[in-house]
Amino acid sequence: MAKLNLVLLALLLACALGLITSQHQARKGFSELEREQARSRELDVEYGQLQLEASTWGLHARVERIASASLGMRAPDPRRVRVVELEAAGK
């Protein structure tokens, strides 16, 4: 009887320790998740800011100004443009 009790006690202790460890692991994992989520939000924000920047640099008016003023580009004369009919794909 005493032997069985001892075994049960050991088992109980093992279970308790296991629970504590797993709880700790879970919390650690969770805080990691939180950190990563915060990072993902930050990256989202950065993505938005980069998009803004891209839009600002890529403003049509600015591109046109640079193309014509500093690169000396101009739209081709319509007479020198050939329109190519695209073969209807998949038909």
Partner: protein, 575 residues
């Protein structure tokens, strides 16, 4: 001698010990009862108290959705910024520190002093919406009593070019104008909240459960094409400046899908910096203002006549002597002509011709077509403040009104309505439903006139931009263009002003298979020229050329340079 038998001991009565025992038992029972009550019956209270020691409800804000153009270019994006606030009583900082703070925040040092001197208030914003980098520098100063909170600010990279369509949001990130207001609900999303367990250091260690999950606002993809919009805005702006006009507006529609590819107004404003804003700049004229369209309405009068079989394009109408008097009111033609065919009435834009044609038509039929193409009713595209214009019940029309309406007076429309109405001619008689958001393909419209009628009117509109018509400056090299000029006296104090005009042009191209409808309106050109063919038509031509190239539309006409008419060669429009 035993202790019990000692004479010193007084024997107490038995009931006393029993009484003490009973009292102790009763006390124990009370304890048991109380603990039972707390643990089993009234559990919520203690649990709540316990939880409040470690669990917190935190707000999870929703990000406002982005607004993109049809090619995915960003037109409006929210990004976090910081607002700096203070509890004046708690602030303790030397003058040098305050000066540095004022410089960082970009506010006047004295103003900052007065704000902080007000000890009555326990919350005062020092500066709202500053960039995160500046906010970090402010935090680095380490002044006690100064705090920051996170807010979102909306940025509009398109600036003044797009602003009348997009609108803007207020400081609380809610839509105030334009699309931002119209789509406020789906853009804003819903803020959520969650219950979490925090540890001693304030780190979140466990999610107890989500109370409400945050829903970010949905991104909105507009029908707008950023490049065409930019082209339209710059062409319009140049024309308004060149002709010293009060204002101008332009609308570009995709004839196949009814999508709004561009909509611009001048004067405009920068939505990122709305310091001094006047009503004139804010107004989206193309949507919310109505005007008497003038001659651009004649094609609809002709369409009614053709539809009813009253005339054919080659029927003649006598317009001599260039005057028509109805009930004390005389309608004039700028250049009196003799007998004109119906096609020539459009080409030369004869008021008398159009009026005579209208007088031969039943009032209700004319009203029905005007109504069906959308005049007098809101275009219903979900834009705040869409104007409906004025189209009176046909029962109230007197003959003179019917006659003036034939050439666009006594009726008022918005530019968007006018552009949409012209889609009837572009789509072989179908009226396209307008759309602000991107669609997947062509849409089916509502049939308003027979395809033959639409074709016939389109041919007349093509004549109007040929030499001999009123709008040869609207032509585009390589494409067949169809369109109509309009020049109307502005209404003023209940009458017509003699020297204030409203010039317009509405047209479509390529005429063989129309892709685009463009409507241009210039308000009060005052640099000498005021005819729609001289003021508005060149803007149309410029934007149409760029837009057709942008969309890769194949030319349907030979590439011949366009010879502009010399002075006085153009057909003068009747106003």
């Amino acid at each position: 001698m035993s202790f019990a038998s000692s004479p010193a001991i007084v024997r107490l009565p038995l009931w006393r010990s029993r009484f003490v025992l009973l009292v102790l038992l009763a006390a124990f029972a009370v304890l048991v009862g109380r603990s039972l009550y707390l643990q089993a019956v009234d559990t919520d209270f203690l649990q709540m108290k316990g939880e409040s020691r470690y669990s917190r409800v935190i707000e999870t804000p929703a990000t406002r959705g982005r607004i993109l153009d049809r090619n995915g270019e960003a037109l409006a994006i929210s990004t976090p910024v910081k607002s700096v606030w203070a509890i004046p009583e708690d602030v303790s900082a030397g003058p040098a520190q305050l000066a540095r703070l004022a410089k960082l925040l970009g506010v006047d040092a004295r103003e900052l002093q007065t704000k902080l001197a007000d000890a009555e208030r326990d919350f005062v914003y020092l500066k709202r919406q500053i960039p995160p980098e500046t906010a970090d520098q402010v935090a680095a100063l380490g002044i006690p009593g100064i705090y920051q909170n996170r807010e979102y600010r909306r940025y509009y990279p398109g600036g003044e070019v797009m602003t009348h369509v997009i609108g803007f949001t207020g400081v609380e990130d809610s839509g105030q104008e334009g699309i931002e207001l119209a789509y406020q609900k789906s853009l804003a999303g819903n803020a959520g909240s969650r219950r979490v367990i925090k540890d001693r250091l304030g780190r979140i260690v466990e999610d107890v459960g989500s109370v409400r999950s945050a829903q970010d606002g949905r991104d909105l993809i507009l029908a707008l094409d950023g490049k065409i919009q930019s082209l339209a805005y710059s062409a319009l702006k140049a024309a308004v400046e060149q002709h010293r006009a009060r204002a101008g507006a332009i609308v570009v529609l995709d004839a196949r899908s009814g999508e709004l590819l561009a909509l611009a107004n001048v004067p405009s404003y920068n939505p990122n910096n709305r310091g001094r804003l006047g009503g004139a700049q804010l107004r989206n004229r193309a949507m919310t203002d109505t005007f008497e369209p003038g001659s651009t309405l004649k094609p609809f009068t002709v369409a009614v006549a053709l539809e009813l079989g009253k005339v054919t394009p080659s029927s003649t109408v006598q317009t001599a002597p260039g005057r028509l008097t109805i009930a004390n009111y005389t309608i004039h033609d700028a250049h009196p002509a003799g007998a004109l065919t119906v096609a020539q009435i459009i080409q030369k834009s004869s008021n008398v011709g159009a009026a005579k044609l209208a007088l031969s038509l039943p009032r209700e039929e004319m009203w029905a077509l005007f109504h069906e193409v959308g005049f007098g009713a809101q275009p219903d595209i979900g834009f705040p403040g869409e104007a409906s214009g004025r189209l009176r019940e046909w029962k109230q029309w007197r003959p003179i009104e019917q006659a003036t309406m034939a050439y666009g007076h006594g009726i008022s429309v918005s530019l968007v309505q006018l552009a949409r109405a012209y889609s009837v001619f572009a789509r072989d008689g179908e009226l396209a439903p307008l759309s602000l958001v991107k669609l997947d393909g062509p849409v089916t419209g509502k049939r308003v006139i027979a395809p033959e009628t639409a074709h016939a009117v389109r041919e007349m509109l093509e004549l109007a931009v040929q030499p001999g018509g009123t709008g040869p400056r609207a032509r585009v090299m390589g494409y067949r263009v169809a369109g109509k000029t309009g020049t109307a006296h502005k209404q003023e104090n209940g009458g017509y002003s003699a020297h204030k005009y409203l010039s317009s042009f509405v047209g479509l191209a390529p005429a063989s298979d129309p892709r685009l409808v463009i409507a241009v309106m210039i308000d009060e050109p005052s640099a000498g020229q005021y005819y729609g063919g001289a003021v508005a038509a060149p803007v149309f031509s410029q934007v149409m050329q760029g837009a057709l190239r942008r969309l890769g539309v194949a030319p349907d006409a030979p590439m011949r340079p366009i010879e502009l008419p010399g002075e006085g060669e153009e057909a003068k429009e009747s106003t």
